[in-house]
């Protein structure tokens, strides 16, 4: 257990130190403020716009930053050869990977919290009620980010940051809009040839394998102020972490087999 903690702590320190991370957060925060400026132009819709745009920017940027950090984590350790001195120590490879994951977890918690605080500030400025609903929405964004982070770590456990980044981005897009993509394509043409089309087959498989990220998006509830039961949050959280868990097991298996030459 201690080994996992040590790796996680080191990963967190490293992540916070990362200049790209800092500049991306700064950029996201700027965009959030921009939302506020735009919303003040359209008088009646301002609160709705801040909620809608604010949550969208927060979730999208957090996921993108997480992909960026996640795909580079293992690669950097190999590239800088630091992994050669870590893995021969009494640590299992899966512990190393899990430490990395928890490190991302803490880094992302800080980053989502910062964005949440900025949103809170905007609500104050607009004299709108932040409320439990927003806390739930931001928590679910965090769960989504952790699912995406697990996927990033999975791909990077056996391929380059560039390829891992592309693949994770693919999973992210399919995860968010996958159901729509698949139905769109299939409804155009339902004959046998299309069904056998490898691309369609691939899309279907991808949509089946990708996590359902749309369940973490509760913006509609927030904007229309409908009630969001706690059980929904529990279920989405459990589903998200279960998915991340399975992905991490697969990542550990790929990582365990890998040669570090």
């Amino acid at each position: 257990m201690r080994q996992i903690y040590i790796i996680a702590l080191n990963t967190f320190r490293e992540g916070v130190r990362n200049r790209v991370f800092a500049s991306l957060i700064a950029f996201a925060v700027c965009l959030l403020f921009l939302t506020l400026a735009v919303s003040q132009a359209s008088l009646h819709e301002e609160v709705r716009l801040v909620k809608d745009m604010g949550l969208f920017l927060c979730s999208t940027f957090s996921s993108l930053i997480c992909i960026f950090i996640g795909v580079n984590l293992v690669y950097k350790e190999v590239e800088r050869k630091t992994i050669y001195t870590i893995l021969p120590k009494p640590i299992y490879r899966w512990q190393f990977l899990l430490g990395k994951y928890f490190g991302i977890g803490v880094t992302m918690a800080v980053q989502v919290a910062i964005m949440g605080l900025v949103l809170f500030g905007q609500f104050l400025a607009l004299d709108a009620e932040f409320g439990l609903l927003m806390v739930k929405a931001i928590w679910l964004i965090y769960v989504e980010v952790m699912v995406v982070g697990a996927v990033a770590l999975f791909f990077s456990s056996f391929s380059t940051p560039f390829l891992s980044g592309l693949l994770t981005l693919g999973v992210f897009v399919v995860g968010r809009f996958g159901d729509r993509i698949a139905t769109m394509r299939l409804s155009e043409d339902t004959n046998a040839a299309t069904q056998a089309d490898p691309f369609v087959a691939f899309l279907k498989a991808a949509a089946a394998a990708a996590p359902d990220l749309s369940q973490f998006n509760v913006t509609a509830y927030v904007v229309y102020e409908s009630s969001l039961p706690f059980s929904y949050v529990y279920h989405a959280t459990a589903a998200g972490f279960a998915y991340a868990g399975v992905v991490l097991v697969l990542a550990s298996m790929a990582f365990a087999r890998r040669d570090f030459t």
Partner: protein, 328 residues
């Protein structure tokens, strides 16, 4: 504690795929890692390497560049998996975690987290072992002192010279007070003083009852401090034994250097020796055990030549090295 060899390698083979996919960084290893073989040719880095290291010895692992030393060491460390064959470390199979508790390792040309200063750096590595914070700190301070980095204790590794990185790397390898220390090219890139410091450190480890296994392509470094040496060429063991034994040779003879040898004397002298070389007005004759040294010298003097020197021929490790390399 276990008895028997501290480290064994048994018929180790390792092939690297250099096919279209295999040659691409990471993608190749990814496919390899998933059990898919690349297309194209392979490099056989190890071709059946076997050896055993006994407790308490300084063992030199010697071979030219590309011989497979680093590959073998990485296999011992569980960083890469053998294509075929097996090995043991401190009586356990390769990759065993308990064995790694009692192991120290310095990689070839090490790089470390550059933003850390020595104390944080060693604390990070110490944290991977079952040591308390107090133990870690005590041990880290002692090691920093031992490798002579006390003056740089607040400096990040980024600002270290090559020699200093090597020294903090050695400290890292010793943080857990290991029974077996494996050092991959610990002297490479160091100046003569740095090499001597590493040698002294290796000696000191043996005094404390540790086993040291270290690789080098530099003969002198191995020759001077090793109890036993293994010579590895092209992924295979060529010789193993005490340095003195490897230097002895049944064919070792005497080298006689002559000056003022007349043209007329050449044929008869050559007839009495095994080999002859002319160099800057001198003639060097190599006489093996079957040649008569007395007879040769008498003949040379009678023919008007003068004897410059008579050197009993002890093979240098270098010669063995060249010989083995050309035979492989």
């Amino acid at each position: 504690m276990h008895t028997g060899p501290v480290l064994t390698l048994d018929d180790l083979h390792k092939s690297f795929d250099l096919g279209f996919l295999g040659s691409m960084p990471f993608i190749g290893s990814a496919f390899g890692g998933l059990g898919i073989k690349g297309i194209g040719h392979r490099v056989d880095a190890l071709r059946g390497l076997s050896l055993a290291v006994e407790p308490g010895e300084i063992f030199g692992f010697l071979g030219p560049n590309g011989a497979g030393k680093t590959t073998a060491i990485k296999m011992l460390m569980g960083l890469i998996r053998p294509t075929r064959g097996s090995g043991t470390l401190l009586g356990r199979p390769l990759g065993d975690r308990d064995a790694r508790n009692r192991l120290g390792y310095l990689p070839e040309q090490p790089y470390f987290y550059e933003h850390l200063a020595p104390l944080e750096f060693l604390d990070f590595y110490g944290g991977l072992f079952p040591m308390t914070a107090g133990e870690r700190r005590k041990r880290a301070l002692a090691l920093i002192d031992r490798v002579g980095l006390t003056h740089a204790i607040n400096r990040p590794i980024r600002k270290f010279s090559k020699g200093m990185v090597q020294r903090i790397g050695i400290a890292q390898a010793l943080i857990n007070d290991p029974e077996l220390v494996v050092l991959d090219e610990p002297m490479s890139g160091l100046d003569p003083l740095g090499r001597k410091e590493v040698r002294d450190l290796i000696y000191e480890l043996r005094t404390k009852g540790k086993t040291v296994f270290f690789s080098s392509h530099i003969l002198q470094d191995v020759e001077q401090i090793s109890d036993r040496v293994a010579i590895i060429v092209k992924g295979k063991l060529h010789r193993i034994g005490p340095v003195a034994e490897l230097l002895e040779s049944p064919t070792a003879g005497v080298e006689v250097v002559l000056r003022a040898v007349s043209e007329a004397a050449l044929p008869s002298l050559s007839g009495l020796a095994t080999a002859a070389v002319s160099l800057q007005g001198e003639w060097r004759y190599h006489l093996t055990a079957t040649d008569s040294v007395d007879g040769f010298i008498r003949c040379a003097l009678e023919l008007g030549a003068s004897v410059v020197s008579v050197i009993p021929h002890r093979r240098s490790l270098e010669e063995i090295f060249v010989e083995e390399a050309s035979r492989a």
